[in-house]
Subunit: 448 residues, 2 copies
């Protein structure tokens, strides 16, 4: 069924000795001996370098990073170990000014980042792109095995939901195009809850989310792929099991795949630490316990920790990088700084000094990963209409902005929950890339 | 590894007779006999209806479309043919006002469309959503078999490229967020050409595209999934082969999948016509030949056909629905109304009356499908810098707006081509849905 021109990978060269093939490749290294060029060529479909021998008569001046289309005879190398190709015809596609195209193997990521387009010529970059695809395939496969239905949430939304992350506005030249203000989605969760509730089916979204966040750290981008499962009748423990299993199975699939291991090798990624991620249990700690750990450890933080305020990067880092030394779930955060839609639960704490008291927390959970920070955030959702309305009022939200969400409760919903995974951060973790700008060919970020 | 609560599909009921299970389901039909309710329940993961028998004591007032979580004993039905569940515990999640939830099996699509959220309760809608996923899976699998690397094009772009379809603008509350005007992508092609050229690898994009098009036909939506392969060294014939093969293999995979056939059955889709699509060759005709066919047929068109003007819907329909009665490739359109980036080629035509003359056409191809119209549009790309610049000037484009695109040529590119497929239209064709608004849970369209 092959209908695309054959790349080098499509040919089994040893079986084609003394036969002619037609293919193409990019020149990565140039050698010469008497009247011949010895060109190391490759294509980016994970093929190895192949030597193309070309008479200088038919190709006077090859340059690196140029492309050649050729017809040639497959032959054994003099030592018989590999196959080479002796070109009989060649067409050369090179740059006007070869010296303008300059990227090198092993060039530092921050230098490559300045050559957004040319960095695509490097093998390390190509390895990241293949791993991006393979991670996505693995995640879809794991999700399918769990019986999750992939659904589509809209990208253009009509609520600047969650209040949190800044949203981008969408404008048309045609006035009143949608009859109401439109935004780019920051999360498909609200719409997904509708589908999950109506379908009564575990679902997931895999699509872009957008944040107009003026952050320039290596972990922030304005557009990223968001993986968001939503599950009927799940418990908070079940949600943590689901996250842990999904991540371990996904990375496990990559480690079991020879090509993926080869790409990770190009990136000099430490496979043992990925294997450890798969093999070892993640730590699980309540927010309240986490606060106690942070308050009683001997570490000096820039900002002190107090029950009722969110954890900072430095606190999160200490917990997962130092204290637990493993991926760490922190759960049951105070309701005060978490989203209105999270399931409320009171936890009774017995304090030896002050006696019993009630902590107002919600069934939320964040997953912290060493070197990355927050990788997933999730919760059970408040399915009880009255409690939801009360919390929305407490948070100062306008009920009419969330009419569809409230209507879903009035029309009958049930306990459910889910989480969001920043897919690009997962690929950062897997590939060991230093910046989210390194795992996508054309990253979008704050440029103010 | 199961970490999501078990839906009915997860249980092999015949092997569980006399055992208790815990699960959940939605009530689709209510019967009663003496002191019991006989509830037909299901979940949306393609499970069949199961009878749940509940003592009226523990559930006084069931309503359709309500959800129940239950514990129950699996038992054989009196006739021994199927398994039923006798509930011992039940939790009921129903609407406040059951009469507000009203959708019926077989309800007309235009009525369902007015109940955007409630229509998700219907089996026909659930079948479409599963088929959407299965079509996507099949397309990815076919692409992987072809050796295409899936890549990510940005969703936010900085050129309102192609001039064609209106673009949405993206605004941040933060002034100068990107330092230049930003838009939502209408096609990933330009960026993808960069990746394909640099990687020297056949690639494809599967991601959303956006059109701020004030069209309200059943074929137009403001956001849709766009499948865009881009292939080095492909010919126009090869491109047509690729399109035909990709579509046939994708639909072939669905027809070979039992669950998919079941879903198509729920939708009363004519499987024979899908099989014909797979089995029969697509017609191939040049634009010039198509014009002759249209000019010499006996059909009266609202707009007459003239060489050098684009074909209208009525012309396209006649060609594929009537004249050929099959999917039809129309290729080598005049350069005058096609995009600047298409590979220019002169075709010499011998006319018996006027002698030889040169037709200025480009290596473009549209695929017309009966009942749908244009499903794919593609071309070879102009890789020759000088010819590209000349065409851009002719079209009145500013060269500086396309600097990256031109630079790619200066830095060395080679013949390549690709096409775009409106994925949502493909799902319309497969499911037989009457409107693009029926194949996505929350469609976005012009509402002016």
């Amino acid at each position: 069924m092959l209908t695309v021109p054959k790349t080098l990978k499509h040919f089994d060269l040893p079986s084609l000795v003394d036969q002619e093939i037609v293919s193409y490749g990019r020149i990565y290294r140039i050698g010469k001996r008497s009247k011949f060029w010895f060109l190391k060529i490759r294509t980016a479909d994970c093929s190895n370098d192949t030597t193309l021998i070309v008479n200088k008569n038919i190709l006077p001046k090859p340059t690196t990073y140029s492309t050649v289309a050729f017809k040639g005879l497959v032959q054994r190398s003099p030592d018989g170990k590999v196959c080479e190709i002796m070109a009989s015809e060649i067409i050369f596609y090179g740059p006007f000014e070869p010296q303008d195209v300059q990227v090198e193997f092993g060039m530092a990521p921050h230098l490559l980042r300045q050559k957004e387009s040319q960095r695509l010529l490097t093998r390390q970059y190509q390895a990241i792109m293949w791993l991006y695809q393979k991670t996505e395939d693995a995640l879809h496969s794991v999700s399918r095995d769990l019986g999750l239905l992939r659904i589509r949430a809209p990208f253009i939304t009509f609520s600047d939901c969650e209040g949190g992350g800044e949203v981008f506005e969408v404008h048309s030249k045609i006035k009143g195009f949608f009859k109401k203000p439109a935004f780019l989605t920051v999360s498909g969760q609200v719409d997904e809850e509708t589908v999950t509730s109506r379908f009564l089916c575990p679902t997931y979204i895999f699509g872009p989310s957008f944040r107009s966040d003026p952050s320039q750290t290596q972990f922030h981008a304005c557009e990223f792929y968001h993986y968001e499962p939503e599950i009927p009748f799940i418990t908070l423990d079940g949600l943590m099991d689901l996250e842990e299993n999904t991540l371990k199975k996904t990375i496990g699939k990559l480690l079991a795949d020879e090509e993926s291991r080869e790409f990770l090798g190009h990136l000099e990624r430490d496979l043992d630490s990925l294997q450890q991620f798969v093999d070892r249990s993640f730590a699980r700690v309540t927010y309240t316990e986490a606060v106690k750990i942070l308050q009683t450890c001997n570490k000096q933080f820039e900002r002190a920790v107090e029950w009722g305020t969110d954890l900072c990067k430095e606190h999160e880092r200490y917990l997962c990088d130092e204290f637990f030394g493993s991926p760490t779930f922190v759960y049951q955060y105070p309701s005060s700084f978490k989203s209105f839609y999270m399931l409320q639960c009171d936890v009774i704490e017995t304090d030896t000094q002050t006696g019993q008291h009630k902590l107002q927390v919600c069934e939320s959970v964040d997953l912290l990963v060493p070197g990355i920070g927050e990788l997933c955030g999730g919760s059970l959702r408040e399915h009880r209409y009255d409690v939801l309305v009360e919390m929305m009022k407490k948070k100062g939200l306008k009920l009419e902005d969330y009419e569809d969400y409230l209507r879903l409760r009035r029309e009958g919903t049930f306990p459910h929950g889910g989480y969001g995974l920043g897919f690009d951060r997962l690929v950062m973790f897997i590939t060991g890339a230093q910046s989210i700008r390194d795992i996508c060919p054309f990253p979008r970020y704050y440029n103010g």
